[in-house]
Structures are given as C-alpha cells and as structure tokens.
Amino acid sequence: MIDFTLTDNDKKVLDSIRAEALVCRNYARHYDENEHEFPPDELPEAKDFPPMMSLFGGRTKDDTGLGVISMMVAGAQSWGDYSVRMRRGRGGLGNAALRAAGTPEQQQKWGGLTLAMAITEPGCGSDPSRVQMTAVLDPTTDEWVLNGEKIFVTTGCRAEGVIVWATLDRSAGRAGIKSFLVEKGAPGFIVAHKEKKLGIRADDTAAYVFKDCRIPRGNLLGGKEEIPKESSGGFAGVMKTFNMTRPAVAAIGLGISQAALDFTREQLQAAGVVFDYAPGAASQSALAQRFFELEALQEAAMLTVMRAAWLSDTAKPNNLESSICKAKGGAAVREITQGCIELLGPMGASREHLLEKWFRDVRITDIYEGTGQIQRLIIARQILDYGRTELK
C-alpha cells in the first residue's frame, strides 16, 4: 500500500540519529576552519549514543524498508554535520566496490578494512573509460606493477587500503580497465597531498601517486585477468555499485539542505514572517511563497531518493531511479541553500551562522558520484533507448 507514515521503530532510529547529529554540529565550525585537523573517530559527547547497528534491532516487516530508512538516516546525520558525520563508523566507497566486484575470498580477506575508491585522475573524471593509470603483470614475481596518479580520493588519508582503477591495455578502452586493491604501505604507493576545498573541509580528500607500485597478483578484484573482446560486463558490474551510493549521496546532500531550511524558517519566523500553508498564492508574502517553493523542492527531491531505495528494498531494478534522484537531489540542494541565503540576506552570508557553510558543503552533491550532467546522460539514454555511442 502506498504510505508515507513512519512507524514507531522508524522514529526511534531517526530521533536517536538526530540527537547525535546535533552533537556533531557543535564541532562543525571548528573543523571547517581548521581544515586538515580531522575530527576524532569518536567525539567525547557522542560516546553514550548507542552504536548504529543496535538502533536497527527489533525491526519488523511492518517497518520502513532498510534501504529507505538508511537514506533517511544518512540525511539525518548530515543534517547535523556532513564531515563530522563521515567519521563515524568504518567503511568507505571502496568497501561498496569490494562487495560488488570482489570474490568471496577477497571480501573475506579485506572486508574489515576501511577502503577508499580511486577512479578519478588529473586527466579524467566524468569519463572513467579514459583512465590512464597502468597495471602490468610481472610474471617473474607474480605481482602487478602500478603506475599513475589518482586525485580527489575521499577518505584517502584515513583509509587502510584503496580500490584503484587501472588499465591493462590503453588501446582496449573500457574493456581493459580493472579494479585492484592496494593496501597502505605497498611499495611505491604515496599519499602525495591533501586537497583544499570549498566545503566539506573536515572530509579527508587526498591525492595519490603510484610509482612502480607492486601488489600481489591476487589483488585484482574478481580475479579475471583477461580482456574481454566486447565491451565488458565487468565494467557495468562495477558501475552497479552506484545504484545505492547515488541515492545515498543525494540523501546526504538533502540532509544539509534540510538543515538550511530549518534554520531559515526559524529565523524568518522570529522576524515575524507568517508561514500558513492554507491560503492560495495570491495571499502569501513573497518570502513565505519563496520558502514554500524551496521546501517543495526539498521534499520532492527526498521522495525521489526514497523511491530509488524502495525499489532496491523490493528487489526491483533502480538504475534509472538512482540517477533521477542524484540529478534531482544535486540540483535541489544547490538551489535550496542559495535560496536560503537570499531569504535571510547578509545574515545568511555571515560566518557567525552555519548556513554559509552548508551552502559550501552541499555544492559537492552535484559533482561527485557522477555530475548532474552525467546523470542526465544516463537518464536520457534510458528513456531514448540509446547506447553510449549514440548519445555522448
């Protein structure tokens, strides 16, 4: 049955996450202004909060599905603070890739490590088939030799290992690209520097250099060394990782824009602006009308996220929908945070409040995990039934 009400169990989870998120928010400004001083794994005041997994105990089939509630949890966390949130719990993007593409033995072996994911290079981002980093097998030692550079690696410093994309044969295009697991400490693997960013500054973003970096032959994810003739299903397999990470990225962004909306409403109300949803447009103040517009955008976008996750919960394909919600969420959070500052005027731009930080933090949403344009490309190909050569 179509329903949008939360059960008591759902509320219990979200209330607890929100309470903890507010603790994180107390640290938001500090780690924003002290860019490379990363927050500790556990904040002193957050010690007594129940561990995440325990919150999910006792759920029944009458509660909201795990995928949907996880998206709401992600939003509730970033509503507190984006980066301080990121510190809690282990696991990075690379862990999702390991689960999607690793053999059972590989998952067993490395599943406990925090893994970053490094696809992007100085010369390629949106089009990962242009990856230049090379992997060459040295049959004498049964090792892969990696050479190349990776940039913008999230959790790059903190991670204990990384999944990198490298090509076995540049002339083979996407078919030649494989993913490898490189543990920190591998010879020739250098963390070159930390990036300085517009927002999400407490987030650890690093650049890597691989110089004749040697890793064991068994570190090729999935273990398939041959280059398939046709453009590979393996590539598509790795891309599938994004079907849940894209909704999550959108959800995280929307948590931040929700914080911006909540703050803006509070401030406007304190200044005497009336929010009454009953009257028609003709009887609304310009401020209230604009606020409702942003609020509708927020809800519409969050609903597309929940829809993508619900499809996954009910074992239905959600490739199209995960791009829809990433595109919608990415654009929505930009407009919402820009609009909130506009509604509050100079106060909105002051560093005395977090709104200006949320405006900076949220901007990443429409860029990583596939830009808004790339999502539209994916959507357009699907609805037009075009392949990647027909629409680039």
């Binding site: 179509i2 909201t64 009257p279 409702f292 609903l303 829809i324 357009a380 609805i383």
Partner: protein, 366 residues
C-alpha cells in the same frame, strides 16, 4: 511504513483508466478542444467506469467501496494523460457528491446521493473559483448571510465545470462576514441564480465551464452542507489541490511521452535531434520532474487517506506541480520547434492546459 507500492486493486484500476484514456479520451481530445464542448456521449461512456457511484455508500444506492484519495490520484493521472479537460468533466459530479458523502447530513445524503447512482451520467458541480485577480480559495468573496432560518447567498463564481448541465451546485462562501468558509447546496433553478453563456478559456476547453451569479439567493438552513456541524472546507480544498496536482502529473507525462519518440524521429544536422544533448537533457529533466511531482502528490494523498492534516503537503504538491507542469509543457513545445506551435500536434493544447490548470487553485476536487 514508507512504501511506493500501490495495492493490486489500485494497479487494476490504474491500468483500466490508462486503457480508457488511450482508447476513449485521447482520440477525441482535439475535437473537443476545437469545439469547446464536452460531448454528452463521452460523459455517458465515462459514467460506465463508475468513478462516482462506486464511492457512494450502499445505503444510498452506490457500490460502497472505500473512498480512497490515493486511488483517486492514480486514476486522475491516467485520465488526464488522455486529456485534462475531459478527465475533469468525467469526474466533475464527484466535486459535488464526495463532499456530500463526507460531510452531508443524513437527510442531505438521502436526498442527493441517489442522483449519482443511476445508469445515466448526472451532472452537479462545485462552485468555488471566483473571477478577478487575487483569487484565493481560503479567502472567498462570495457571502452567506443568515436570514431567519436560512441563508442568503451573494457573489459570483466562475470556472464551474459542466455548469450548463448541473442540477445542483455546491457553493462555497464565507459565512456571516467571518473568515469561516462553508458550503451550500443550491439547486439550479433557485431564484436569483443566473448562469451566463459558457466561458471561453485559454485551455481546458474540452471541459465546458460556466459563470454563476448569485444575487441574494435564498436557501433554507437544510442547504448548509453538514447542517449545524457544517463541513471542513479546508479538507475540501486540500483534496482539491491534491487532485489538481495529479491532473498536472498526467498532463506532464503526456508531454514527455509525446516528445520522446518525436525527438528520436526528427532529424537535423544529419542526426536525430534527440542525439543533441540540449534536447536529450530537456527530455531527461521531464523524466526527473514527472517522478518528483508524482511522489509529492502521493505523499499528500496518503495523508488525506490516513485522515492526517494535509494542508502543507497539498499546498506544496499543488504549487510544485503547477510550476513544473508549465515548464514541461513549455519545453515540450520547444522540442517540437515550429511544429509545437501548430495545432496538428497536441503539445500546444497541453501548453494551454498546463497554464490554465496551474491557476485554478482548488478547482480540481474529486
């Protein structure tokens, strides 16, 4: 529990409406628009779907199925995908009957509901919208003043669906000079009620609408919907806004589904225009927004279904859908270029309909 899954019955109903919209609505939509007329034959045909009678309790001659705002928005999206004007015409008796089901006194239900349970289409309508700028469904100009046991109604109502055929009107008015809005059942032949010639509108022309002038129309106390208890006019407006938003989803989906094959087929500069990103991304945006709009509508409908106040959700759904539908229809015309401007294609019709619907705040009640 958050769920986007319609029930099996809802899926069956939705599929049946989709089929009806394709076979019985879309083929006549252009002609009805050109004629500015809702054909009686269409109304009879649509009546067989049982859109109204099924939701009337058995005690008053209906099928007694639970009234579901969720089913209603699913049905409306499909019918409006065929044509928004004809969709609203087909459900217009519900504008009158459903408030009676929800708020009517026993005597009102016994007198009025059987009218909608017969074999033939029966027209009765809601008189909500008022002419002139700054119309707001919660701040009406039409007044009801107490006089003796009854009321005297004065004001002007426009955009009244099928006013030319309606046996009764449910007139919304402010009572005794206060802000509270109540509804009054006014028979068509009431003294002081005048009906102008059918309106000429930009869009929704397939729906015949009329303007009513109420000049000191006297009605007995029993005409007040719900008697002494009155009705919850806010819920009526919330239902209306949600339904109207659903119609806008249907219109938007129609534009998208027309523009996609057109863009694949039409060539310029040696390839299909759909292969140009400017066009492809416009189509992708339509796809994104049709989804986003629909979930806002479902969210509002779900609250209405659960009897939770939906004022906020209905307002957000209506205003969002009005804005996005206008953009989608606008982009639809652009994707077709000059052909979008020509009446051989339905896109200009949807462009007019989207603009018209978007400003009829609260006028799409079912």
């Amino acid at each position: 529990m958050i769920s986007f899954g319609p029930t099996e019955e809802q899926e069956v109903a939705r599929d049946a409406m989709r089929e009806f919209a394709a076979s019985a609505i879309r083929p006549i939509a252009r002609r009805c628009d050109e004629d500015s007329q809702t054909p009686d034959a269409f109304l009879e045909q649509a009546w067989q779907l049982g859109l109204v009678a099924t939701q009337i309790p058995e005690a008053y001659g209906g099928a007694g199925e639970a009234r579901s705002p969720i089913t209603n928005v699913l049905v409306l999206e499909e019918l409006a995908h065929g044509d928004a004007g004809l969709a609203l015409a087909a459900v217009s008796p519900a504008l009158f009957a459903m408030p009676v089901v929800e708020f009517g006194t026993e005597a009102q239900k016994r007198e009025l509901l059987p009218l909608f349970c017969g074999e033939r289409f029966h027209a009765a309508s809601l008189a909500l919208v008022e002419p002139g700028p700054c119309f707001d469904p919660t701040a009406l100009r039409t007044r009801a003043e107490r006089k003796g046991d009854g009321f005297v109604l004065s004001g002007v109502k426009c955009c009244v669906p099928l006013a030319d055929r309606a046996s009764h009107f449910l007139v919304l008015a402010r009572e005794n000079g206060g802000d509270a809005v109540q509804a009054y059942v006014v028979p068509r032949d009431a003294a002081g009620l005048a009906l102008a010639a059918p309106e000429k509108n930009l869009g929704l022309r397939a729906l015949t609408t009329g303007t009513l002038t109420l000049e000191r129309v006297e009605v007995p106390a029993s005409a007040r919907l719900g008697g002494d208890a009155g009705c919850d006019a806010r819920r009526i407006v919330n239902l209306a806004r949600t339904a109207q938003a659903a119609v806008l989803v249907g219109v938007s989906r129609a534009v998208m589904e027309y523009a996609i094959p057109y863009a694949k087929d039409r060539e310029a500069f040696d390839e299909a225009i759909a292969k140009k990103q400017a066009i492809a991304f416009t189509l992708a945006d339509m796809c994104i927004e049709v989804d986003a709009m629909r979930w806002l509508v479902w969210q509002a409908a779900s609250r209405l279904e659960n009897g939770i106040d939906a004022t906020r959700e209905a307002q957000l759904a209506r205003s969002y859908c009005a804005k996005q539908a206008m953009k989608i229809a606008d982009d639809g015309v652009q994707v077709l270029g000059g052909h979008g401007f020509i009446r051989e294609h339905p896109v200009e019709l949807w462009y007019r309909n989207a603009r018209t619907l978007g400003v009829l705040d609260g006028a799409g009640l079912v």
